[in-house]
């Protein structure tokens, strides 16, 4: 069994019908089922200790919902997440509850993830003190230790979040996660808001920490070159499901799904000067009303008859390389 096993994770958001709708429903005058958004239809992945899983997708593809479910912020509708064999969703044993704390999250907007009235010291120590991972007498040393790990001086502990730049706040956010002695870090667009020169510093920091603490990462980004740089495995998501997954080197060398290919040619690049070819048309459809068949078929230049009628299932093309596309496999599923 792998270090991290994610099996059939699903999340459906639905609104409770209002009073009038429920009344009409009870009288049989209106269908009382409310619209449901299938934010994540199906997400399975596994990861070995010390590996980085990169997750790529556009807005509405469900990548942040996956992150929040892994971090225990959002409760999945179905599915299991096993860390070291412990079910961190059910959390039905003391070991599983401890394992759930081994997963920590680093957000895109560090400022929004910190209490502006707390000093850095309190921001970093609140969780480990509450969960008993450190004793109050160890707090000072722990803060100094984690700040040093992110290349900041222990003196900053007595300041407030607003006194730091965006890059420094992101380091503090990482230090806070490290204070829990995590095994798995979930990074949701953690470098997206940073300036180019600061982004390189934080990416290097993630790689250093991985070596130093043996950390495993789920790294979510819309930036292909960042994901390619950091990840061992990569999954591409579209409208709530994985459309292609493979080891990073393999995926970037041989992308198979038309959506993956489109992303790769359209990601801004220093090499694409004065590009002329027409881009992928259309937008990501609403998850409230996904298209028939393959969700990508309305935007796909290679769409066939079968793509409009049936939904392709993720199928292995080669060892470790899976794609959900009728160009490569005939396997289908009911969405």
């Amino acid at each position: 069994m792998s270090f991290l096993e994610i099996k059939g994770l699903k999340k459906t958001f639905s609104t409770r019908p209002d009073l009038i709708a429920r009344g009409l429903g009870a009288l049989g005058l209106r269908n009382s089922t409310s619209p449901a958004v299938h934010a994540v239809r199906e997400f399975s992945a596994s990861l070995e200790r010390g590996e980085v899983l990169g997750l790529i997708g556009e807005s509405g593809c469900g990548k942040s919902t996956v992150a929040r479910m892994l971090a225990g912020i959002t409760r999945p509708t179905a599915g299991r997440v096993l860390l070291d064999g412990h079910d961190v969703i059910a959390r039905d044993t003391p070991e599983a509850r401890a394992a759930a704390l081994d997963i920590q999250m680093i957000f895109q907007d560090a400022a929004a993830a910190m209490n502006p009235r707390y000093r850095i010291f309190d921001i970093i120590t609140e969780a480990p003190l509450y969960h008993g991972r450190i004793k109050p007498s160890q707090a000072r040393d722990k803060v100094a230790e984690v700040l040093e790990a992110v290349s900041m001086s222990p003196d900053v502990a007595d300041r407030y979040p607003h006194q730091f730049s965006g890059g420094q706040r992101q380091r503090i956010g990482i230090a806070r996660a490290l204070a829990m002695q995590p095994k798995l870090l979930i990074c949701d667009e953690s470098v997206a808001a940073l300036d180019v020169s600061i982004q390189a510093q934080v990416i290097n920091l993630f790689m250093e920490l991985r070596e130093k603490f043996g950390l495993t990462y789920v790294f979510i980004s819309h930036d292909l070159s960042v994901v390619r740089h950091l990840s061992d495995r990569v999954a591409i998501m579209y409208l709530g499901e994985i459309v292609e997954a493979a080891p990073a080197a393999e995926l970037f060398a041989h992308p198979e799904h038309p959506y993956t290919r489109a992303l790769m040619t359209q990601n801004p690049s220093l090499k694409n000067r004065a590009r002329r070819h027409a881009p992928l048309a259309g937008e990501v459809p609403s998850p409230l009303d996904p298209p028939q068949g393959c969700y990508f078929n309305p935007r796909c230049r290679q769409a066939m008859e079968v793509c409009r009628a049936h939904h392709p299932a993720l199928a292995a093309l080669r060892a470790g390389h899976e794609a959900a596309c009728f160009l490569h496999s005939t396997s289908r599923t009911n969405p």
Partner: protein, 331 residues
């Protein structure tokens, strides 16, 4: 010599704050030709947005333009009255913001906003004619079912569609110059690619000059004819896109390019520019990049003059990628 569409020389926009004078733009020289796209690249605090606002006459207290000229078609915009600038904005110069809701009024329908933009600059245009032009503009930016979209409110459109509407509004009066501040930063990759493609096409067809403000060198590489790199209120390097990206002279430009993961071996440590962008209130003397520069020397305690190579101009005493003989002081 033919006049450029836009010629900015020695522009200084300073903010007189209680903490001191913040020199957000401190001696900016920039030219934009007709149909040309110039990318103004810089990190937060480099002054790129204030530069854009200065051209539009949108700098408000405690900031003001203290020096310099902004010539649009040979006419100086510095010193124009608010009323005169209001006539120029939206007509000769248009702006596209990162967030299209900065442009769009949430309580007005798209057609009302577009008709207003046309008629406020030319009362003689009838409402029917203005509506026809609005429809044509929406069609031009590739909005599907433009007739129906005209009757929508902004919240009924997706982010990508809103940005297209904002671009359509910018185009309405066929401006000479469009200033776009990070117009695709909030958009998804595939939508961004659509907008980049669209802008390139429109620029060529209409001969509109474009200043594209961005922090993203990849976007600049794709869209721009020329790239100007800003640091601490000045352009530190400027030239044709290929020259700036392939043969950068300024160590800051070089560092920015090298710090991108693109083109690096997977998992290798990225090149880091140490430190962070300096506070504008407390700039180091001489070259502002000196404390972060690996090539800095004693000479850098003085402000480097602008120098030119065969292709680019830059401000540095110790340029990279340059045979010393090929460089000249700019008098």
């Amino acid at each position: 010599m033919t006049r450029e569409l836009l010629e900015i020389s020695g522009l200084k926009t300073h903010f007189f704050t209680r903490g001191g004078v913040a020199r957000a733009v401190d001696g900016l020289d920039l030219q934009v030709g007709r149909g040309q796209i110039v990318a103004l690249v810089g990190e937060s605090g480099s002054g790129k947005t204030v530069a854009g606002f200065s051209i539009l006459g949108l700098v408000s207290a405690p900031g003001r333009i203290t020096e310099g000229r902004i010539l649009l078609n040979g006419q100086d915009l510095v010193g124009k009255s608010d009323a005169e600038m209001a006539r120029i904005r939206g007509d000769r110069i248009a702006m596209i913001f990162q967030d299209p809701m900065m442009t769009l009024n949430p309580v007005l329908r798209i057609d009302d906003q577009m008709i207003e933009t046309i008629r406020i600059h030319d009362r003689k245009v009838s409402k029917v004619e203005a509506r026809r032009r609005a429809l044509e503009a929406l069609r031009e930016v590739g909005i599907p079912a433009p007739e129906a979209r005209l009757r929508n409110y902004p919240h009924e459109l997706s982010g990508g569609m809103r940005q297209r509407v904002a671009i359509a509004i910018a185009l309405l009066n066929k401006p000479d110059l469009i200033i776009a501040d990070e117009p695709t930063t909030a958009l998804d990759v595939t939508i961004q690619a659509q907008i980049l493609y669209l802008i390139r096409k429109l620029c060529e067809e209409h001969g509109t000059g474009f200043i594209w403000i961005t922090h993203d060198l990849g976007v600049a590489a794709e869209i721009a004819n020329r790239i100007a790199v800003m640091y601490a209120g000045r352009i530190v390097e400027e030239g044709p896109t290929d020259a700036v990206l392939d043969r950068p002279h300024h160590p800051y430009t070089e560092g920015l390019i090298r710090s991108l993961p693109e083109g690096q071996p997977r998992g290798a440590a990225l090149f880091q520019i140490p430190g962070m962008t300096p506070s504008l209130l407390n700039l180091p003397e001489g070259c502002p990049f000196r404390p972060r520069c690996h090539r800095a020397s004693e000479a850098c305690r003085a402000m480097p003059p602008e120098r030119v190579s065969a292709e680019t101009r830059f401000r540095c005493f110790h340029p990279a990628n340059a045979a010393e003989g090929a460089l000249h002081e700019l008098s």
